[in-house]
């Protein structure tokens, strides 16, 4: 007979031995670590975002060593400055309205209808985002000026007669040209915002309205549009700020009566006088106000949390005529967006292109020249270096920040979130102006000040450019990684912890593989935009050895030394576009429809 104590099956329970937790794995220390990491990131962002901007603002409010609104008063009473401000505001407003007009119909068609080829068009319509308007502008004069390709073509087919009257200037003195280029560059941001907003609007809202007797247009106006408004405001604010502070496109098109251009001219001349900084303050206030209005006042969603995305069954299948119409809409926009860049490609390959519809002869010599000439070749290399390093910086800091915000629930996460998203509201040229202010002189009077002067724009701005690119694009990384983290249920990580894995190991083995596509795509996007960075590059790179590709293009395009430089600028632009298109294609393939999450600030 066996007794209970002999039976292996019913041994009395033994209290499990408690393994002492390593210091870093104990709960309280772990939390302290996270708080420390969060505070460190806040400190880094403060040092490279808030301090420089603060210094630029302070410089604008200093007169003869005293705090004073003297310069600010002078700037806002200066007629030229007021005109420039008005122009900038009009330009940004026109661009935003134009983007809305282009983006909403496309998003409605893509979001509510089913038709053949929708997937392809949905990706192609994002293409304009990688076509830098700055580069596109290189060909705009050639295409649309008084004696440009369009008018030559119109004369050729007999619409215009140059001998009878002066042909029209399609660039509208620059304004129309800038709006055109900016719209075709920026509308995808609104398209993505509108599409994402639409996906969150349950189709039954519109169906309920139709069911109660409202026609399609009334339904759109009274139901769908109000529900999309938060998304449109958020996207519209980004577009407005972008257009409001853009330097590159107006510069290349020669439309210079704008506030950012006058700031750029002052800073690039090395004139770091207070009036430029007063302008910086005005621009910054405008941008931040708009950003806050867009995000927190009008950008608040009224949709319930459980809003359901539309399913394919709810989409309207378009007939043959509708499909053709949808295609025509998309193709027209894509063609218009691609046109200036095709012009750039033709320019890069042209032997000679003046006063004719097409270039007279093609050659590869400009394309070869820019890879052989040390200055242009170096600029490409420089851009690759800056962009790669900035991406690594963002991967580490942005990825960590996203995790701390979404998962670690640190106490200061609101502050952290605000600080890493702030660069979206800070235009590149304002940050650049801050860096110029920070490195202009040894303001600490000690070692730190010396180091800062040494990395100044006129000395060796390598690290300054890397940091500027990284700080500017960190919001994209944080948004990208956050979006991924939010899609992965915490319970997956908890299950791993529950089975004995440490937090770090759970993240590495469970969460990271699941969000790798998001991380990679965000990295690719960060890299792409760092390559595209115009305003910081134009201001911060003042020595030829450190020119990135954008500054080199501007240098060539603005140069009047030789007739060849225009072609060479275009050739460099083509290389830039090839690099960008390749990286964007990867991002599109990885993120698919979730690409919009990155732009939803």
């Amino acid at each position: 007979m066996t007794t209970a104590s002999q039976s292996p099956a019913i041994k009395p329970p033994v209290a499990p031995k408690r393994r002492p937790l390593p210091l870093l794995r104990s709960r309280r220390v772990g939390m302290a670590w996270r708080e420390f990491l969060a505070l460190s990131i806040i400190a880094v962002m403060a040092a490279f975002l808030l301090v420089p901007i603060g210094m630029a603002i302070k410089a604008g409010f200093t007169h003869e060593g005293q705090l004073s609104s003297y310069w600010f008063g002078r700037v806002i009473s200066n007629d030229v400055m007021v005109r420039n401000m008005a122009n900038s505001t009009m330009l940004a407003a026109a661009t935003t309205v134009a983007c809305l007009v282009v983006a909403i119909p496309l998003a409605m068609v893509a979001g509510r209808c089913r038709f053949a080829g929708k997937g392809v068009l949905g990706v192609l319509v994002l293409l304009p985002m990688v076509l830098p308007p700055f580069v596109g502008a290189l060909s705009m004069r050639r295409l649309l000026s008084r004696f440009g390709v369009l008018n030559q073509l119109l004369e050729y087919i007999g619409v215009l007669d140059f001998s009878q009257s002066l042909p029209p200037d399609w660039l509208g003195g620059g304004f129309t040209g800038v709006v055109f280029l900016q719209t075709l560059h920026l509308f995808p941001i609104l398209y993505l915002n509108a599409s994402a907003a639409l996906a969150n609007v349950d189709p039954s809202y519109a169906q309920a309205a139709r069911n109660l007797g409202a026609g399609p247009w009334t339904t759109f106006r009274k139901i769908t549009l109000p529900l999309l408004r938060p998304g449109l405001f958020a996207g519209g604010a980004i577009v407005f700020i972008w257009a409001f502070t853009d330097v590159g496109t107006p510069l290349i098109l020669g439309y210079e009566a704008l506030m950012p251009v006058s700031i750029f001219k002052d800073l690039a001349r090395g004139d770091t006088g207070p009036s430029a900084y007063s302008l910086v303050f005005i621009m910054l206030s405008g941008s931040v106000t708009l950003y806050v209005i867009g995000k927190f006042i009008f950008g608040r969603s009224v949709l319930p949390d459980s809003a359901k995305a539309s399913t394919s069954a709810d989409l309207r299948r378009l007939g043959p005529l509708g499909t053709v119409g949808a295609w025509a809409m998309f193709i027209l926009v894509i063609l218009l967006a691609v046109l200036p860049h095709v012009g750039v490609l033709l320019t890069a390959l042209a032997e000679h292109w003046v006063g004719t519809i097409l270039p007279s002869g093609f050659t590869l010599k400009h394309m070869l020249f820019v890879v052989r000439h040390p200055a242009t070749y170096n600029s490409m290399l420089n851009s690759l270096k800056y962009a790669s390093l900035a991406t690594v910086f963002d991967l580490v800091f942005g990825g960590l920040a996203a995790w701390l915000i979404v998962r670690a629930r640190v106490r200061c996460r609101q502050v952290l979130d605000g600080v890493v998203m702030l660069p979206l509201a800070v235009p590149g040229m304002i940050l650049a102006a801050g860096y110029v202010a920070m490195t202009a002189r040894n303001w600490t009077g000690g070692w730190l000040g010396e180091q800062l002067v040494a990395i100044g724009p006129g000395r060796n701005p390598f690290w300054l450019l890397v940091i500027a690119y990284a700080v500017r694009r960190i919001p994209f990384m944080v948004r990208g990684v956050s979006a991924g983290l939010q899609q992965v249920p915490v319970s997956l990580e908890e299950a791993a912890r529950n089975l004995g894995s440490s937090q770090v190991s759970a993240i590495r083995r469970i969460t990271l593989p699941l969000i790798s596509a998001n991380i990679l795509a965000a990295a690719v996007l960060t890299f792409t935009f760092a390559m595209l960075e115009v305003s910081d590059s134009l201001i911060l790179a003042q020595t030829q050895d450190h020119y990135p590709i954008t500054k080199q293009i501007y240098d060539l395009a603005a140069s009047t030394g030789s007739p060849q430089t225009g072609y060479q600028a275009a050739a460099l632009g083509v290389y830039g576009m090839v690099m960008l298109a390749a990286t964007m294609a990867i991002a599109g393939a990885l993120l698919g429809r979730r690409l919009g999450a990155i732009f939803r600030a």
């Binding site: 039954s204 169906q207 069911n211 109660l212 009274k222 139901i223 359901k308």
Partner: protein, 362 residues
């Protein structure tokens, strides 16, 4: 009040190159003012059918007629139906009052008349005090009532309800059944109600249609469909049912008796049965009396089957026995707990029932 007629209504989708019928050749007529239910398991096509009546989905074939007028190709807004969506689809940017006001406005009603209609309909669902609230400030049950008021305010020819109670918790659902039926019947609108909950359908419907795999299997009053199911699917779907296969031995004219011989014994069923030899008998568990093996009371019943108790489960108000018949078929028997004799597991029993409790399924 509108009479709705569905003629050979069909909706097919192509999936992986094959045509799949979501709704297959549905024929039905819904009388004016009737509270009509479409009942079936998920994926049976009931919501598709409802959305075709609303005009939200275009049928592949067939026609929808309102009072004899073909509305198959009439636009959604032109049909004068009003639907309560499963998730209510209350517009989150409008207040309760604005939501309810929308339908009458769209149907061209003057503003002051609209106010009156809004008040009347909010009163009807006891939500007058909430007119200024936004939908996200309401509970699920309140949202459901607002959705109903919004639909009724449009004064529709036909009210369509798509599982309106499915998002509510069990208690509230029970409470809302009675309220919903009262409000709908008061409004007088012809109403079509989609649900997968047979209790909901049985307790609320004037008539109901049971759907399976895109088609209507049986239409009838709740009593007819429950007690006289046309197929095994209907019998099974409408509640617990016991089946046994057998062979029709004899049948005597209309109003007579059919005798079915099964491996477990002879079963008498009410009414005449035609069509083939093979038949399945169906008896609801609550219509079966369980008696001891020696109990002489069994003589009072038309059919008696011998069985052994396999399991005895106490379920509060009722007690359920699972019994094994002589041919190894398992039957369930339910009786009110606390009444009569109880039977131990393994004990021999007799399962007794009358001819009117048996449905013979073809």
């Amino acid at each position: 009040m509108t009479r709705i007629e569905l003629r050979n209504l069909t909706k097919t989708y192509s999936s992986a190159g094959k045509e799949v019928a979501a709704v297959d050749n549905v024929v039905a007529a819904i009388e004016p003012g009737e509270f009509f239910f479409l009942l079936g398991p998920s994926g049976c096509g009931k919501t598709t059918l409802l959305r075709m009546i609303a005009g939200l989905i275009e049928p592949t074939r067939g026609a929808v007629l309102f009072d004899g007028v073909d509305v198959t190709w009439t636009s959604v807004e032109g049909r004068n139906t009003a639907m309560v969506f499963q998730n209510y689809a209350l517009w989150p940017h409008m207040t309760v009052g604005q939501n309810v006001r929308f339908g009458p406005r769209m149907r061209g009603m003057k503003s002051d008349k609209c106010n009156e209609v809004v008040q009347r309909n909010l009163h009807r669902v006891q939500m007058v005090d909430y007119a200024a609230r936004k939908p996200n400030q309401l509970s699920g049950g309140q949202q459901q009532r607002v959705a109903l008021a919004r639909a009724l305010a449009a004064n529709p020819a036909c009210l369509l309800l798509d599982e309106p109670l499915s998002n509510l918790d069990a208690r509230l659902r029970l409470h809302m059944r009675g309220q919903l039926r009262r409000i709908v019947k008061e409004s007088g609108a012809t109403t079509i109600y989609v649900t997968h909950d047979q209790k909901e359908a049985l307790s609320m419907a004037d008539r109901l249609a049971v759907m399976d795999r895109g088609g209507i299997v049986q239409i009838g009053t709740p009593q007819e469909v429950y007690h006289r199911p046309a197929t095994r699917f209907v019998a099974d779907f409408m509640g617990e049912a016991n089946f046994i296969d057998g062979r029709i031995a004899s049948t005597t004219g209309p109003g007579g008796v059919t005798c079915v011989v099964t491996p477990a014994g002879r079963i008498m069923a009410g009414g005449a049965c035609g069509g083939g030899d093979a038949a399945t008998c169906c008896v609801r568990p609550e219509r079966v009396a369980i008696l001891g093996a020696e109990d002489p009371l069994s003589n009072r019943y038309d059919s008696v089957l011998h069985a052994a108790v396999e399991a005895d489960t106490f379920l509060g108000e009722i007690r359920q026995y699972v019994c094994r018949l002589d041919d190894d078929t398992r039957w369930k028997v339910t009786c009110l707990s606390g009444l009569g004799e109880t039977f131990p597991e393994g004990g021999k029993v007799k399962l007794c029932f009358n001819k009117d409790d048996v449905s013979v399924l073809a």
